[in-house]
Symmetry: C2
Subunit: 391 residues, 2 copies
DNA sequence: CATGTTTGTTAGTAGATCTTACGAACTAAA
DNA sequence: TTTAGTTCGTAAGATCTACTAACAAACATG
């Protein structure tokens, strides 16, 4: 099978065409369409696929035999339900034939890695302490972790997906990642050379929003806010991730909130979102409050105020974005003990009170259900999308 | 030729495919590709087109003869430059064979209409006073104006494009337009029935951003802010307009600015962008200042303060959007005597001071060069895109 | 004047889907 | 038990697309 190079899909769109299309491209489109349908619903017959895709049974049969030849699809016996007619042969993606390896470099002190099934389930995970490594030393840590994780795979590896903090361009070059001490680090190309596997590197928040989109259910436009040592966002509109003109979309951590100043930020400005909302800032503020309080009730009250204010600040930043994009779904990723409850309630209330209620009335804001594996799973989505055209 | 129904184009994209593709679709894609190339550069030979599109001369010839049969393309004699080889036959879109009719319903008191060439040049324009007509009466005014404009066309009409204020869905139903007294007004369908022509209705700010994109040059992501009786925005990312989950993208007029309250808005909230920035509010504030001032210099000073503050408020709203989308190009549309200069300088300065300089350093903010015809021209882009796949 | 280049067309090939037709295998009713 | 009807998967041939190869026409250059 093709293990390198993204499939070239074909689609109608309200855009001027930019490239010619050949008969072989339509084959790839329909092949991917069948694979996608099978990936999503699983356990279908050729006839089912024909009905769902609009292709004829003949064409589906042909595509399926091609996919079976690549070990991507397998037959799973005949359907048992008593129905008139010849019983259908059930098909499914061969979900155990390949595995996906992904890394999450967004941890402040620890890098994580995992082997995932084609369904995005974490089969095994590993980690390595960054130990303040920067620049080339940080790269070595990444390469070491990657080799470890690859060794733990128990099936051929479909590809490697990596979520990195900082600005990452379309070629997988990390343009700027202060925490890792990288500037213009060609991570994707280097690791692809080192491993011989197809590698995809994207920003961690962008990976996260892909995970939320693919595994989180609804097919809405989506804004994911990732709160950790810093604050970043991933944005998905019309089914596609937004990367931005300079690949810095979602970098809202150093946008100033409100018109009443605020705490000094490491970047030099006052009142940046990160200065209100980052995990270090919240935990230390809570610690201070706990230390200063004389009773547990008093501490709780102050903590509530801190979280409410942080949530409100997030809402102030998000309101114009929600209004401009007419977003209806916002997802938070980060420590639930900080974000869930008081903080997110304050955020949604602030957004609603600052935008047109008629347009944002059914806004939902919730915690992600992907937990700490969100970047690892999102990186897997990248690989599935790049290698199989599936997600 | 096909005068109704959008062409179905085909394109590679990083998205899962949602529909099957047939050989006839690839024909349409390549046909549109050729037409698009010709539309953009004009005066090319079949061999030139083949080189530019990547198709073979044979295929281009075939497509061209089809397009010539529909009177969309014409031959313009042989190239004169002395070059070796058989002289090339120059081709061009038949730019005088069709005309486009568009309406701009966004004026507070007056509706405008125009006949445009395929190049988007206004050939003749008309207008009609709204005279406070609302609901069905407003529809009648629109239909009357449309009939007038259609009568002034001097060539077959490719289609009708309409920019309407308010929330407009993909089917051209005006979901909500307070100024015209419309709720769920199926404008596109009604006018299509009435005229027998293909009609496209979109939000006025969305039309404007399309005009700016097609005629304004650069191929960047683009945010257009349209300041008039209200304040709205149109957003274009990756070459496509963003409509939003409920078709209300760009509705930033009633987003609250800052954390220090502000003037009461008609919507009930305090400190909405429209309460700071709309044309009526600015003109009346300036009028008051002029009346109250004892000297011209004093008046000028106060006016400067008013405009600076309005610009600053706009910047405060836009900063999170610019950060989240990593936008580099913002365009203002509206009365230049209000927006150009002091106000826009304050806006750009505010945005830069509230975002990460490294990511937004090369942000440009400028007035549109499309002037008052921006919606009319944008509506023409809609028609070109829908009928020919060209823009 | 011969040579090389470029243009646009004709003829035939390869790849993709489709329609039509058919055997296989099952359920349900006579 | 037989018959009819249904559904599945496959086979053969038709249609549509763009491609390659080849060629005549028309020009510039040495």
């Amino acid at each position: 099978m093709t293990t390198t190079g993204a499939p070239r899909m074909i689609q109608d769109r309200a855009l001027r065409p930019t490239a010619k299309v050949l008969p072989e491209h339509i084959r790839l489109n329909n092949r991917t369409l069948v694979l996608q349908t099978l990936y999503r619903t699983g356990l279908q017959s050729r006839a089912d696929l024909a009905r769902e895709t609009g292709l004829t049974r003949v064409t589906v049969s042909d595509l399926i035999s091609e996919l079976m030849g690549e070990n991507l699809v397998i037959e799973l016996g005949q359907r048992q339900e008593p129905r008139p007619g010849k019983p259908a042969t059930l098909l499914d993606i061969n979900r155990v034939a390949f595995q996906i390896v992904t890394l999450d470099l967004s941890g402040h002190t620890r890098l994580r890695g995992a082997v995932l099934s084609l369904d995005g389930v974490v089969l095994s995970s590993s980690g390595i302490d960054l130990a303040d490594a920067r620049g080339e030393a940080a790269y070595d840590k990444v390469a070491e972790l990657l080799a470890q994780v690859i060794a733990r795979a128990t099936a051929p590896i479909l590809g490697v997906g990596i979520g990195s903090p900082g600005i990452v361009d379309r070629a997988g070059v990390v343009r700027n990642a202060p925490n890792l001490g990288w500037r213009d680090q060609p991570l994707q190309a280097r690791l692809q050379n080192a491993t011989g596997l197809p590698v995809r590197v994207v920003n961690d928040a962008n990976a996260a929003v892909l995970a939320e989109h693919s595994f989180g259910g609804a097919d809405h436009d989506l804004l994911l806010v990732k709160v950790g040592h810093g604050v970043g966002a991933g944005l998905l509109i019309g089914g596609r991730a937004i990367f931005g003109e300079r690949f810095a979309a979602g970098e809202i951590g150093h946008v100033v909130v409100g018109t009443d100043d605020g705490p000094l930020c490491a970047c030099g400005k006052s009142g940046c979102l990160e200065a209100w909302l980052s995990v270090p800032r919240l935990t230390s503020a809570i610690q201070d409050a706990t230390d200063a309080a004389t009773t547990a009730a008093e501490a709780e009250l102050v903590i509530d105020q801190i979280l409410t204010e942080a949530g409100r600040r997030l809402g102030i930043i998000l309101a114009p974005v929600v209004g401009a994009l007419n977003l209806l779904e916002i997802v938070l990723s980060g420590p639930p003990e900080l974000l869930d409850g008081t903080l997110s309630a304050a955020t949604v209330e602030t957004i609603l009170s600052r935008t047109m209620a008629t347009e944002t009335g059914d806004l939902t804001l919730r915690m992600t259900e992907q937990g700490e594996d969100i970047v690892l799973r999102g990186a897997a989505v990248m690989v599935l999308s790049a290698q199989l055209g599936v997600s």
